[in-house]
């Protein structure tokens, strides 16, 4: 199914909004009967060819501060517009005088449901923290507790990155191992480094003071010297609190040389590691010092901490495991049994760093490359709340890291469009309530009438902070319907409106405001499900369910995800399926729902639900990406796409089933985190014999090449860069494919299912067919 999905053009459209239900049930009760929550997945700054950028400030409603949009009713003669959210009448200001039915400003064009305002910098917009475009800050934090080879990979990646930074970008550099070293780049006499001990937790003020950036430094100094020195000149008082930051952060153009030579000299951490112990690595303190350092930068300046982490934190606060190698890093089992002594404290520690960063409007990116876990599970919240990027790889020399890292700094087409200081506000029609958002953002706790009483994710607010966001950042907004049914006499207002206001600082430092206004219809499903069914977006629904269930797994102890999914799927099928009671064979699903059970089947088997196959770090990583990726990417994570290549057919989607394997086929599996090219046995033999090199077998060469090219296409657009696995049937790496396939053929039924050249999967998992059978049976039972 993935293939058609891919082919589908731009389901998000200019709005960048997709909802589980296009038509909303009118009442809370009805909504809950729909099983799948009403939710919207939005990409707040999704680029679109038709997107207009207006060089002036938006008009806002006097009372609800919603922005003028195509759904406003406009009185051209009186030059008045009526806000669709609060029905307030607003006058157009003077410069809109020439407005007429034929002369509309862009924001009133009905096809510009999304529009962007570029806010002149001198203007003081309430949400605009930065009066001036300040260049973004990149603070690199490099772990040095690794073998030399790894360190060299990391250093060369940094070297390259620094060369790619815009000239005016401010750069800072820290390294850490047992201790944290903050490199003062602006000191010309010699290399200068501030060293912090890895074992001691420091507050932001302490960090600033110790770096000589504190305000309080002067105070204390004064007291000391005045008494002691007897008349020595007092310390110069005129120094502002931030004046010293330039010692640590310099424009890339000025410090490139310094940084490069510094990297040249940088060696692996020198502190001795006792045999049988892990390196002493103080990731926690390093991050808190980094956060503290950035705290000295001007408020509102976009900044990211780019941390390259090579292993678990073992020293000081934020440690995730003991130094002794014989203690393994916590597993899911340990977490379940509460047998991870470091976990809670570390989580709390990183959460605090996250909070601090959010307050400062800064981003934490983590690039972890290690064979062991590094503590992503603990850092997850800090990364996610700040909108940071995360890449988990096995080595700094691996393309997953190298290419991903490069992408951050790339310009132009490939650019991720990394933006800073985003704020999302949601205005909605009466009766629509916002429960919260799952995704890379933090609640700003801005209460309002549209805040729902139940909270999902970051809730209790109508505004969210996104310290870092990019083109593909995606948020899932959960809506609720007001419980007051009576207030809305039928037919009075069949439409509901939702407006998303995203202000952010674009990569070039400009402040932008993206306004997206969407409308949906209320439907009264007392008449039947037809409207609802037609308005169901099963792909979005699958992703939303996946995100929601992951969220519940994290916050609800002892939550049984599989059972929850099954129950909801059955409820859904019972409600929307077409069947005769108690007759499984009569069960039918509308095409709008038909793919959903399969999504659920794959979701149940996915890494999101079956966490025990992964480390907590991996799970955290997967979930962060699940929550922030676009719907189509997220769908691929849940249910990979499989394309088959063969001599006698065009490349085409294949069933995600073990039976798709054939000796004369090449399969290309995209499971988001990895892309697998799988050569059937015969193909592999041919290839090993080198037929592709012979001119008469050009066709074979093309056949071999085609999946490679397609894989590159996938890889090119994706961040993080997926791991590319090229394998042959029966090879050890084939497990990457087999794990994702429907086990229709297992050792239990091998003899009956096996067709020539196919494969079996050694598992006890049920196959899709069995799953569907059960589903039908249960769905038709009396509810």
């Amino acid at each position: 199914m993935a293939a058609p999905e891919l082919a589908q053009t731009d389901p998000e459209g200019i709005e960048g909004v997709r909802m589980t239900w296009h038509n909303w049930p009118k009442s809370k009760v009805e909504a809950s009967k729909c099983v799948i929550p009403i939710a919207a997945s939005i990409q707040p700054i999704r680029p679109h060819v038709e997107l207009q950028t207006l060089p002036y400030a938006p008009l806002r409603c006097k009372t609800c501060s919603a922005v003028l949009n195509p759904f406003c009713r406009v009185d051209y003669t009186a030059l008045i517009w009526i806000c669709p959210f609060c029905f307030q009448r607003n006058n157009f200001p003077h410069h809109y005088h020439s407005l007429s039915q034929t002369n509309l400003p862009a924001e009133l064009y009905p096809n510009f449901l999304s529009i962007e305002y570029s806010i002149p910098n001198n203007q003081n917009h309430p949400q605009n923290y930065a009066p001036q475009p300040s260049p973004p800050i990149y603070l690199f934090v490099l772990d040095t507790c690794m073998i030399e080879e790894e360190l060299n990979f990391a250093k060369s990646a940094l070297n390259r990155a620094i060369g790619m930074l815009p000239e005016n970008a401010m750069v800072g550099f820290m390294s850490y191992g047992t201790q944290v070293q903050v490199h003062e780049l602006g000191f010309s006499d010699m290399s200068k480094v501030y060293v912090f001990r890895g074992s001691k937790e420091l507050s932001k003020d302490q960090v600033l003071e110790q770096l000589g950036l504190g305000v309080s430094g002067g105070r204390r100094a004064g007291q000391g010297i005045q008494k002691g020195g007897g008349g020595g000149p007092s310390p110069i008082a005129g120094v502002g609190p931030n004046s010293g930051i330039n010692r640590f952060l310099l424009p890339a153009s000025e410090c490139e040389y310094t940084l490069n030579s510094l990297l040249d000299e940088l060696a692996t951490d020198q502190w001795p590691v006792a045999p049988g112990n892990r390196s002493l690595r103080c990731t926690g303190v390093a991050l808190s010092v980094a956060a503290g350092l950035l705290g000295a930068s001007m408020a509102g300046t976009g900044a990211r901490i780019i941390a390259l982490v090579g292993g678990p934190c073992t020293e000081g606060p934020g440690s995730i495991v003991s130094k002794d190698l014989s203690d393994p890093v916590r597993s899911h089992k340990d977490l379940d049994k509460d047998a991870a002594p470091f976990f809670r404290k570390a989580v709390h520690f990183y959460n605090e760093i996250g909070k601090q960063l959010v307050n400062q409007g800064h981003v934490l990116d983590v690039f972890a490359s290690a064979l062991d876990q590094v503590g992503i599970a603990e850092m997850k919240v800090a990364i996610e709340r700040t909108g940071g990027l995360i890449v988990l790889a096995e080595s700094f020399g691996h393309s997953v890291f190298k290419d991903s890292f490069k992408r951050i700094f790339e310009d132009g087409e490939q650019s991720l469009g990394l933006s800073f200081n985003g704020t999302l506000e949601i205005n909605c029609s009466k009766d629509v309530k916002v429960q919260g958002i799952i995704g890379p953002c933090t609640s700003l706790e801005k209460k309002g009438p549209t805040v729902a009483s139940t909270v999902i994710g970051q809730g209790n607010t109508t505004a969210w902070k996104m310290c870092g966001l990019d083109k593909s950042t995606c948020l899932t907004v959960f809506f609720d319907v007001s419980s007051s049914e009576k207030s809305d006499p039928a037919g009075m207002n069949p439409d509901l409106y939702i407006q998303f206001l995203t202000s952010y600082q674009s990569p070039d430092g400009q402040m932008r405001l993206r306004v997206t206004t969407v409308t949906r219809r209320w439907v009264d499903n007392t008449m039947g499900n037809e409207d609802l069914i037609q308005g169901f977006d099963q792909e979005v629904a699958a992703v939303v369910v996946a995100r929601f269930v992951s969220y519940k797994m994290e916050i609800e102890e002892g939550f049984d995800a599989t059972k929850w999914l099954d129950r909801n799927l059955i409820r859904l099928c019972s409600k929307f399926g077409d069947y005769r009671k108690d007759d499984p064979t009569s069960f039918m699903l509308n095409p709008c729902f038909s793919l959903f059970p399969q999504f659920m089947f794959n979701l149940r088997r996915s890494q999101f639900i079956q966490v025990f196959n992964n480390s907590p770090d991996e799970t955290a990583y997967f979930r962060i990406l699940l929550n922030r990726e676009t719907i189509s990417n997220a769908a691929v994570m849940i249910q990979p796409s499989l394309i088959s290549y063969a001599f006698n057919a065009l490349p085409g989607p294949a069933l995600l089933d073990v039976q798709s394997i054939g000796p004369d086929r090449i399969l290309l599996l995209d499971s988001y985190f990895s892309v697998v090219i799988f050569h059937g046995m015969t193909i592999a033999q041919w290839r090993n014999m080198g037929y592709q090199n012979e001119p008469e077998h050009l066709g074979f060469a093309h056949l071999l090449q085609a999946p490679q090219d397609d894989a590159q296409l996938i890889i090119r657009d994706r961040f993080p860069v997926p791991r590319l696995v090229v394998c042959d049937q029966h090879g050890s790496q084939a497990r990457f494919l087999l794990a994702k396939l429907n086990p229709s053929a297992t050792y239990n039924n091998a003899h009956e299912m096996m067709n020539a050249g196919s494969d079996v999967i050694f598992t006890d998992d049920v196959s899709l067919q069995v799953f569907i059978d059960h589903l039908q049976r249960l769905a038709v039972q009396a509810s």
Binding site: D189, M190, S191, Y194, F196, R197, K227, G228, G229, Q270
Partner: protein, 1074 residues
């Protein structure tokens, strides 16, 4: 320094010979003419400025430089080359480059020339004559001269010393005699002198010589042997030194003598003579009490205090120091008996014949009382002053190193005493009896040797450990808990605003930069460097780096080391980086606006980085530590505003403010880190608190106040140089063992004590003395001997583990008079001084003063009561050996530490300075040496470099005179009001007294007067192993006041004059008697 130092350390390694160090010393830099080329710094030997040809130096010195080490370049022979260069520079240069390198120095060519001062001996020796004798001598010598002399003599300083006889006629001769006389001023010289006198002139009449000085005289005579015929024979113990017996030859002869090995002696302690300077009428008048009337003849040791007291005292006759100019040859044992040592302040050469040299260990009494009662009756105290690594005289035999191989030195199995010449072998040598605990041990098989007919082992004379009082054993594995540590030198420099602006940082960096070249060579030597203000900055000196890397430790409440390695690196690997770094530090911090100083944190951080090895931490600190751990407050100001709180509060200011630094220091000591503190400041820095660190870790405090980059840079350099090049050891443990019946009561000095029996010394050097007080725990047998053994286990700078064992065996006595006769004045006084210093922070000043006075009175009283035969009530009777005790006691009362009007830091520094002070430096500290220098010309070159000394009485100063006064630390040059401008011009390059500024640098001008002055100063520096802080003083301002504050014999508003003090004492004794 490289150049001059020819003999650098490398020589010694294998057999470390203490004398070698002397070599180091050589290079001390002494004053110089301005030389400094800044450019020069690098390493060439900037120092020696002298124009004077070095050639002249007596060759003998060159290699063997004797003991005292002055730091810098001392002109020793080799020096020469660079000199020229320097001289060329215009004097002004100096100013431009204040920080400059130390100055070059002049070589005092004449070392040799110094006549050996025998002086001191007499008194002590004399003692023996004791009772009976005392009256004799004195009485014999009439003091007649006293009175008569006065009028004339005084003018010429030198002359004064003489007995009146000279005075009368001779003055003019001045040049000739004076020198001669001066050198041998006091009685001590007795015998030799006479010849001199004779030859020199008519004037001499032997008898006179001494007459004046009652006590002294006697001393002299005694020295000789017997009182009676004083001059007749040389005392046995004073064997004429070598052939060169100084005295024999007339003045000129002296020079010759110089050829003799002893170029260097320690400074003769006793300031010269006693001259009675009766001279000027003016002054005289003022003190009517010293009546001119000739006092009755003094009995020997007794002072003629007439009953009525003062009026009877003739100031000219009262006991004063007798400078001796002769080198004494001292055998530590003769005729199987301990030989009482010469005065600590005299110049002597020791031959170790069984007992250790008195340089290493001396006892307050050279015969041990058999019982406690006897000891308490005498009122004297029993203590040892131990200076285990003391410098020896170049002519002395080096200490022998004995290697017992794997098994280690032979030791008593019970008390662990080390084998020594007094262990008695019995039973054909199969067993031996320990002289310390009396236990009988089996002789190890491979150490067995048959006994000879004399009952001694046949190999006794071949084995140093059986015939020498001091030997050094090679330590075997069992003496090492780890490999011997490398020689680690960590420099920690204050770069706070104040330090930068006063030039202290630059001075420190420049000094370090030059000193690096003098650090021991080889892989053993490791160096680290850090700077600090309100944070601590380390530097990674690893060679691979293109440039040093600065590592800042900002957490000054809770410090840590920023790197595990690379902060301390082998010197050989980082020399260049280090030089670059040191050159750039001052400019790097040029605009530093941080006024705070995190001293405590910096020291702690540096310690942490040295923790794994231990070593020396040299800290240059300029302001009161104001932040971080161990920060201090300006207590002084608080104390002042709080004056009403009274003495108790005031006392607290002399104690450390809290335990923080003490706790740190104990930890440092535990990890063998020794801290030396160089304080270059303009303000109060609370030395009372800071000094705890060096004190506890075996280090010391250097104090430059008020610091002047111009004047003090050279001293800073020389101090630092001496600090790192002098003989020293690391990770040392010391224990003193005593024979049964005596035990150690307490140790005191700069060290850390964790267990009562041992003293832990993270570092120990040749200048550190430890006082060991003893107590009886049993009776001793008369006629037996009581032994003391000091064992010091340490690591040399070359990484060898050694045990230096010094054994002193003294006879026991039941007779009080023997005790008095064998009392050691210098040692006793040193003990009194150190005890007083220890008391100061915890007792009110008045109480400390009373205590010190009482110690003195009690001793004199005991003597008076039990030993003196003379019954005249009116006489103050002084034991021969202790006759100067009252003078020293008086000087002590007037010293910086006991005066309550001084600055707090000055007092604290004094207290600290005294704590490890070696015996020979104790006396000059309280009773400085003063000489006249305006008439150097007249004295020509016919004498020792240093002219005769003048008693510290302001009457002795003339209006035309220029006087130099030094106490081993400071050197004041006082220019009186009507000095010949010509002399001023020649000496200081100024034309009038008014031009004297606070910032004084001694330069060498091209004239003989200036050269002589430089020679003198350099000689003093050499003797004191210290580059003196020079200051020019004139009457009428604070500098003059300072100078006059050293006139300890004067009457002052708060203190008695010497004569008054004697009277005072006498009265108290009389009261007691009654």
């Amino acid at each position: 320094m490289a150049t001059p130092g020819g003999p650098r350390p490398r020589n010694f390694p294998p057999n470390y010979n203490p004398n070698a160090l002397a070599n180091n010393l050589q290079n001390l830099q002494v004053s110089q003419p301005n030389q400094q080329h800044s450019s020069n710094l690098g390493g060439n030997a900037p120092r020696p400025p002298n124009t004077t040809p070095f050639g002249q130096q007596p060759p003998s010195f060159a290699g063997s430089r004797p003991g005292p080490p002055p730091p810098g370049v001392f002109p020793r022979g080799p020096v020469p080359p660079s000199v020229q260069a320097q001289t060329t520079l215009p004097p002004n240069m100096v100013s431009t480059r204040p920080t400059g390198p130390p100055m070059g120095s002049q070589p005092p060519p004449p070392f040799a020339s110094r006549p050996p001062p025998p002086g001191a001996l007499p008194s002590s020796i004399g003692g023996h004559s004791a009772l009976g004798s005392r009256p004799g001598p004195f009485s014999s010598s009439p003091l007649p001269s006293g009175p008569s002399a006065p009028s004339y003599t005084n003018t010429s300083g030198p002359v004064g010393n003489g007995p009146p006889a000279f005075a009368s006629g001779m003055i003019q001769n001045g040049p000739r005699f004076p020198p001669g006389v001066g050198s041998m001023p006091r009685p001590a010289v007795g015998p030799p002198q006479s010849p001199t006198l004779l030859s020199s002139g008519p004037s001499s009449h032997p008898p006179q010589m001494r007459p004046g000085f009652g006590g002294l005289n006697s001393g002299a005579s005694s020295t000789m042997g017997q009182p009676g015929p004083p001059f007749s024979g040389p005392p046995q113990n004073m064997p004429p030194p070598l052939g060169s017996m100084p005295f024999s030859a007339p003045v000129p002869g002296m020079l010759q003598s110089s050829g003799s090995p002893y170029g260097m002696q320690t400074w003769p302690p006793h300031p010269q003579q006693m001259v009675p300077p009766p001279p000027t009428a003016g002054p005289m008048q003022q003190q009517p009490m010293f009546g001119m009337p000739p006092p009755p003849p003094l009995p020997n040791q007794s002072m003629a205090l007439s009953q009525t007291g003062q009026s009877k005292i003739d100031p000219n006759q009262i006991p004063r120091l007798a400078p001796s100019s002769t080198v004494i040859l001292h055998e530590t044992r003769q005729e199987n008996q301990a030989n009482p040592p010469p005065p600590a302040t005299s110049d002597y050469i020791v031959k170790d014949t069984g007992n250790c040299s008195p340089r290493y260990m001396r006892c307050t009494i050279n015969q041990i009382p058999c019982t406690v009662d006897l000891l308490s009756t005498s009122a004297m105290q029993l203590a040892l002053l131990v200076q285990p690594l003391a410098l020896s005289h170049p002519s002395e035999e080096p200490i022998q190193v004995v290697d017992f191989g794997e098994s280690g030195p032979v030791r008593c199995s019970r008390c662990k005493g080390y084998i020594n010449p007094f262990m008695k072998f019995i039973d054909q040598g199969r067993r031996f009896i320990c002289n310390l605990c009396g236990f009988t041990d089996e002789t190890p098989r491979d150490y067995h040797c048959n006994l000879g007919p004399d009952g001694r082992r046949r190999d006794a004379y071949e084995r140093p450990e059986l015939c020498r009082g001091t030997v050094e054993f090679v330590a075997s594995k069992e003496y090492m808990v780890r490999d011997p540590m490398p020689a680690v030198f960590f420099f920690l420099i204050d770069v706070s605003m104040n330090a930068i602006q006063t030039g202290a940082t630059a001075a420190a960096c420049s000094a370090i930069n030059q000193v690096i070249a003098d650090l021991p060579d080889g892989p053993q030597t490791m160096v680290g460097i850090a700077t600090f203000d309100s944070t601590v900055h380390f530097y990674s000196l690893k060679r691979a780096l293109q440039q040093p890397l600065m590592l800042i430790v900002p957490d000054i409440q809770d410090v840590y080391t920023p790197l595990q390695s690379d902060v301390i690196v082998q010197l050989a690997e980082c020399r260049q980086h280090l030089e670059i770094l040191l050159e750039s530090i001052p400019s790097m911090f040029q605009n530093n606006r941080t006024a705070d100083s995190a001293f405590g944190a910096a020291v702690k951080a540096a310690f942490l980085s040295m923790k794994s090895t231990g070593g020396k931490l040299l800290v240059f600190q300029s302001v009161l530590p104001s932040v971080g751990i161990g920060s201090l407050s300006s207590r002084e100001a608080e104390g002042r505003s709080n004056a009403s709180a009274g003495e108790k509060e005031a006392l607290k200011l002399l104690q450390p403010v809290d335990k923080t630094l003490k706790t740190m220091a104990i930890e440092f000591a535990e990890y063998q880190v020794c801290v030396d503190l160089f304080i270059t400041t303009q303000t109060y820095v609370d030395i009372a608190s800071l000094s705890v660190v060096p004190r506890t870790t075996g280090g010391q405090v250097y104090y430059y106040y008020p610091f002047s980059a111009l004047c003090d840079s050279a001293k800073l350099y020389n101090d630092l140089r001496w600090n790192v090049t002098r003989p020293q050891g690391f990770e040392a443990v010391m224990r003193v063992r005593c024979s049964q019946g005596i035990q150690v009561q307490e140790y005191s000095g700069n060290f850390c004590k964790r267990i009562p029996t041992d003293v832990d010394l993270p570092a120990i050097d040749c200048d550190k003395t430890i006082m060991v007080s003893l107590k009886h725990d049993d009776k001793l047998q008369e006629g037996s001997e009581c032994a003391f053994q000091c064992a010091l286990l340490y690591t040399t700078v070359y990484g060898q583990r050694r045990i230096r064992v010094s054994t002193l065996s003294l006879s026991c006595t039941n007779t009080l008079s023997n005790m008095f006769r064998s009392a050691d004045l210098d040692t006793q006084f040193a003990c009194i001084l150190k005890q007083a210093a220890n008391e100061i922070p915890s007792a009110p000043p008045a109480q400390v003063r009373d205590q010190a006075t009482n110690v003195c009175i009690n001793i004199l009283f005991a003597y008076r009561k039990f030993c003196a035969t003379v019954s005249s009530n009116g006489q103050l009777i002084l034991p021969e050996a202790l006759r100067l005790l009252p003078l020293y006691a008086l000087a002590l009362l007037k010293s910086n530490g006991l005066r309550s009007d001084g600055r707090l830091d000055d007092r604290s520094f004094w207290i600290n300075h005294v704590s490890p002070l070696p015996t020979p430096l104790v006396i000059p500290l309280v009773y400085p040496r003063m000489i006249a220098i305006h008439d150097l010309e007249e004295k020509a070159s016919d004498d020792s470099v240093i002219p005769t000394t003048i008693p510290l009485l302001s009457e002795n100063l003339t209006d035309e005179g220029i006087y130099l006064l030094e106490n081993g630390e400071d050197c004041l040059i006082y220019v009186a009001s009507s000095v010949d401008p010509n002399i001023l011009q020649q000496m200081f390059g100024i034309s009038s007294v008014e031009e004297i500024s606070n910032q004084f640098i001694l330069q060498q001008y091209d004239n003989s007067l200036s050269k002589k002055l430089n020679a003198i100063v350099n000689e003093i520096r050499r003797q004191r192993s210290s580059y003196l802080r020079l200051r020019l003083c004139r009457k009428g301002d604070s500098s003059g006041m300072l100078f006059f504050s050293y006139m300890v014999e004067d009457k002052t508003p708060s203190g008695l004059s010497y004569v008054e003090f004697l009277v005072h004492i006498h009265r108290l004794i009389q009261t007691k008697m009654a």
